[in-house]
């Protein structure tokens, strides 16, 4: 589904990604872990297509297409959804409106008829229940005045509605208390299916005890320095990043 080959990127003058190789297949859950400043968020933003993140080398192929040929909205319509580490507050735009526009943009892209308000509400209500969110969230401005936990729930709510093929979650666990972490994890687990892939980018192992990954990668200094199965996360938990970084050096 996603093939990253020797990806290099910089932000302003700083070279952040120095040659990343990663392949993600449908049905898989990958965790990318790493210390602060290792390039985790940069990788997410490059895959999302954010301005200011300049790709200086390598390729990324998504479903057989050159990802860098696609605008951010085209990536989303093709099924990539990026969960933001810091979801953006948008005053004046209601949550329900954003969800509906996003949902219909995808349907239109696939040549399907747009959903009417009634059908759409029915769908959203069901997803709200999963995320233990009150319906009043739909009528509030996107993320405005939401707590940290509510913002993250809202990100996952969008995922449940949009049902991406590839979900890319950038530190979705940061700032969550235990209860919110459970709800968010439950939401992500619902997305797991043989034709979908999930990439979790996280600093901590604790998310992975709720969402069990098939593969764990350690990112450091802009490179993946070690890959393994879920036991690698446990090893990190015991020994910290330093041991693995030294071992790889």
């Amino acid at each position: 589904m996603l093939k990253i080959n020797n990806l290099q990127a910089r932000v302003e003058a700083a070279e952040i990604l120095k040659g990343i190789d990663l392949e993600v297949k449908a049905g898989e859950v990958h965790a990318i872990m790493g210390p602060n400043g290792s390039g985790k968020s940069t990788l997410c933003q490059v895959l999302g297509g954010r301005d200011g993140y300049e790709v200086t080398g390598g390729t990324v192929e998504y479903m057989g297409k050159d990802l860098f040929e696609l605008e951010p909205e085209e990536r989303a319509r093709e099924g990539i959804l990026l969960g933001f580490q810091y979801p953006v507050e948008i005053p004046g735009v209601k949550n329900i409106y954003l969800l509906k526009e996003a949902y219909n943009a995808q349907r239109k892209h696939r040549g399907e008829p747009e959903a009417d308000t009634f059908q759409f509400l029915k769908l959203v209500r069901e997803k709200l229940k999963t995320m233990q969110m009150d319906e009043s969230f739909l009528h509030r401005a996107v993320n405005v005045g939401f707590s940290g936990g509510e913002k993250k729930r809202n990100e996952i709510l969008q995922m449940l509605v949009l049902e991406p093929k590839l979900a890319l979650l950038d530190e979705t666990d940061s700032g969550l208390d235990i209860d919110a972490l459970k709800v968010v994890s439950e939401g992500v687990n619902r997305l797991r299916s043989p034709d979908r892939a999930i990439v979790l980018v996280t600093h901590y192992q604790r998310l992975l005890s709720h969402i069990e990954p098939d593969f764990v990668h350690v990112l450091s200094g802009g490179r993946i320095i070690k890959s393994g199965d879920k036991t690698l996360a446990h090893e990190l938990e015991r020994n910290g990043y330093q041991g693995i970084i030294e071992e790889a050096a």
Partner: protein, 445 residues
């Protein structure tokens, strides 16, 4: 002598006026009109060297020889219907070129204690009750335009609400300008007297017939007595070739509450002055404003809130959007008198530039002479937030639609304060139609 001496054209019009004031009008009114004519003649049109007119050069108005409009311009009922607010159940007065047209108006079933009439009619039938209302808040010295309005006074609306009366349906004053050759000017005046504990909504709405090229010079005098609650909509949706200067004077007594919605969408050169005098404790005003400037439009709004008494409150939220070569100005003055302790004055001005050639100037001016007050102000001029754009696009919404959503949301945060849903929806549609640079806008109720 003013730097902006009146052209011979206007000097002649004033002379004719002074020669021709009918003898039948009461002495107090004749005195006020003569005084105003003298004032206008002496001061001429304002000059950009005057601080209050620094950003707005009225030469395009001063240099045109506007004439009084013909008395009965033909207007089709359907045209007026297109200008009314779909779904709004309201009393209605229609004015064409500043003159009341009873045939298009509907004032049936007004409740007892409420008087709504044309100003010309009121002056012809029983002028004396107007003596304490007409020209007592709006002084000639305020501006040459206010003076000209009094000098050339022709018609307008008089709204009087008795003690404790509640007007359930809003009153829609539709003021329509027509195309003229030569172009015409009109001087409508709106007088609102809200008695103790009364409540009403008045919509002052300016629009135009196709190709209108005139100048509308309005004055509104609004008094809210103790405990009165007034909602005042000032909606300007002129043709792009029309000129408008509006001066609004609001005086509020104890515990009265006024909400002002001032929306400017059209016009070539527009200036509004909103002057609020909070004279007794408990008086509260909300000033909500939105202006859109595109093409070569110029819209200038000055608000002045005078906290003359302790325990008075003002909340002001103005937003501007600039596109094309549009030019916008917002100047908000708040004056808190020495004795006006416990004043709560909040002012916020936010402006969005969609084009590199658009310009908006915003200037808060706070003068505070009391020490136990809560006053805050903020002013911003910026472009669309890139992070928000990226966030929306990352959800599959294309750049055009995302831009439209954000611009519309920016404007709608002011419009959503309107309590009349029908007016709000109509204004939203007109706003969307006037925002070609904002991408695709989908108006949802």
């Amino acid at each position: 002598m003013s730097a902006n001496t009146l052209s011979q054209h206007y000097a002649d019009q004033l002379q004719q006026l002074q020669d021709g004031l009918p003898g039948a009008i009461p002495e107090w009114l004749a005195g006020r009109r003569h005084g105003a004519a003298a004032r206008f003649s002496e001061a001429g049109f304002p000059d950009p060297r005057q601080e209050e007119w620094k950003y707005t050069n009225v030469r395009p108005i001063a240099s045109k020889p506007f004439v009084a409009a013909a008395t009965h311009a033909p207007v089709a009922e359907e045209t007026l219907r297109a200008m009314s607010f779909e779904g709004l159940d309201a009393y209605r007065m229609v004015f064409v070129d500043g003159r009341l047209r009873a045939e298009f108006s509907d004032l049936e079933d007004l409740p007892g204690g409420v008087t709504v009439q044309g100003l010309a009619d009121a002056l012809a039938s029983d002028p004396d009750p107007l003596e304490p209302l007409l020209g007592t808040l709006a002084h000639d010295r305020f501006s040459s335009f206010a003076a000209a309005n009094m000098a050339f006074l022709t018609d307008g609306a008089v709204i009087r609400l008795g003690k404790g009366v509640r007007l359930e349906r809003p009153l829609h004053l539709l003021m329509v300008g027509s195309a003229g050759d030569p172009a015409t000017w009109s001087h409508p005046r709106v007088l609102i007297q809200a008695g103790e504990g009364s409540e009403a909504t008045v919509i002052e709405h300016y629009a135009d017939l196709e190709g209108a090229n005139g100048f509308t010079n309005t004055v509104t005098e609004l008094r809210a007595e103790t405990g009165a609650q007034l909602r005042h909509y000032l909606l300007q949706d002129h043709a792009d070739s029309a000129y408008h200067v509006g001066s609004v004077f609001i005086q509020q007594r104890r515990d009265s509450r006024v909400t002002s919605h001032n929306v400017n969408l059209g016009g070539r050169l527009v200036r509004h002055d909103l002057n609020v005098d909070l004279t007794e404790p408990g008086a509260e005003i909300d000033l909500n404003g939105l202006f859109l400037v595109g093409g070569r439009q110029h819209v200038d709004t000055h608000t002045r809130v005078h906290h003359a008494s302790p325990h008075t409150t003002s909340r002001e939220q103005y937003r501007g959007i600039g596109q094309g070569h549009g030019r916008g100005v917002f100047k908000g003055r708040v004056l808190v008198e020495r004795g006006a302790q416990k004043t709560d004055a909040q002012q916020h001005s936010a402006n969005l530039l969609l084009s590199p050639n658009a310009e908006i100037d915003t200037k808060p001016e706070l003068e505070i002479y009391a020490d136990d007050v809560k006053c805050a102000h903020g002013a911003t001029v910026g472009q669309l937030d890139e992070t928000s754009m990226y966030y929306l696009r990352s959800r599959g919404i294309d750049a055009e639609a995302a831009r439209g959503m954000l611009v519309f949301a920016f404007a709608d945060e002011v419009l959503e304060r309107m309590d009349l849903a029908a007016v709000r929806t109509n204004i939203e549609r007109r706003l969307a139609a006037r925002l070609p640079e904002a991408g695709a806008i989908d108006v949802i109720g």
